[in-house]
């Protein structure tokens, strides 16, 4: 992730404003590809749900709504702290930024722990990706999402370290914005996964 845009003093001497705008556009393009990466899974979901409605209805009961809902709330909160982090550095509040980054990371970790138990629970009940199409979708969708959470946590940790070193200020916070955009996308995808997988009625 860091590849994108930390180049303030890049050797090609691009104007910092152009640099900033370019980096943000680049990040949005990257998010577009992420959307289509998940897109294949959403398409598979749509097709198989229409094909096997009963299977989806029956098997989704194995999923734990409460954990799903808690994780939704956790991610939404993490999105808030992330947004607040960006807002604080825009106003030059460096300490606040570090605090919000830390909170975001913690929420991310809580999400991961929940998922760990959720998967463990499934395996105990001998539910695997090969169990059925529904669970294949469940594991692939949440698994790919989990990988993104993991990547996000790593990126945010790197940003936290840089932030603690005082690298960012109201004049330079591009990486924070980009990290934030990425993190919000992770939240955004979960916003769809939650009703699609856990709340089939």
């Amino acid at each position: 992730m860091e590849e994108i845009g930390i180049d303030v003093h890049a050797h090609h001497h691009v104007d910092p404003v152009v640099e900033y705008k370019a980096s943000k556009l680049g990040m949005w393009l990257f998010l577009a590809t992420e959307l289509l990466l998940f897109g294949g899974l959403f398409a598979a979901y749509a097709i198989f749900r229409a094909k096997y409605p009963e299977m989806f209805h029956e098997e989704h009961k194995e999923l734990d709504r409460t954990i799903g809902a808690i994780n939704t709330v956790v991610l939404i909160c993490s999105s808030l702290t992330m947004a607040l982090g960006v807002a604080s550095i825009q106003r030059g509040k460096k300490k606040l930024l570090s605090l919000f980054l830390l909170l975001t990371i913690l929420f991310g970790i809580v999400f991961g722990i929940n998922k760990y138990f959720e998967y463990g629970h499934k395996f105990e009940h001998h539910i695997y990706p090969s169990t059925s199409i529904f669970f294949a979708l469940y594991f692939m969708m949440t698994g790919l999402h989990m990988l993104h959470v993991l990547a996000g946590v790593l990126v945010l940790t790197a940003l936290l370290i840089l932030s603690l070193k005082g690298k960012f200020s109201e004049n330079y916070y591009t990486p924070i914005e980009l990290g934030g955009l990425y993190w919000h996308l992770v939240d955004l995808i979960w916003i769809y996964l939650f009703p699609l997988l856990y709340l089939i009625s």
Binding site: V17, V18, K21, I76, M82, A83, A87, Q90, G180, L199
Partner: protein, 100 residues
């Protein structure tokens, strides 16, 4: 193209963020509640509608899409169109197959 070393940017305030967060929490509550009601096929429609409202809130405010330029908007909207086409046209295949 920009030449001035000056970032003209809209800064969203803390309160806006908190309000958006509140809305997201409320919508999450609604979507769980609604899933216990029975509208038949409309359940999924409602669920997706709520999810889309939530997603738009995140994109517009948390991600500042509201304040981005046209280029960014195009590169956000076109992939969504493509995704719809991927699903839609594949469905045209899968659900119109004739059996002998």
């Amino acid at each position: 193209m920009e030449t001035k070393a000056h970032i003209e940017e809209h800064h969203v305030g803390y309160t806006t963020y908190v309000l958006v967060w509140l809305a997201l929490m409320v919508l999450t509550g609604i979507t769980v509640w609604v899933s216990y009601l029975h509208f038949g096929v409309f359940n999924i429609v409602v669920a997706l509608l709520i999810a889309s409202i939530k997603a738009s809130l995140v994109a517009l405010y948390f991600m500042h899409l509201k304040f981005e330029d046209k280029t960014t908007w195009i590169f956000v909207l076109y992939p969504i169109v493509l995704l719809a086409l991927l699903i839609g046209l594949t469905a045209v295949d899968v659900f119109f197959r004739t059996t002998p």
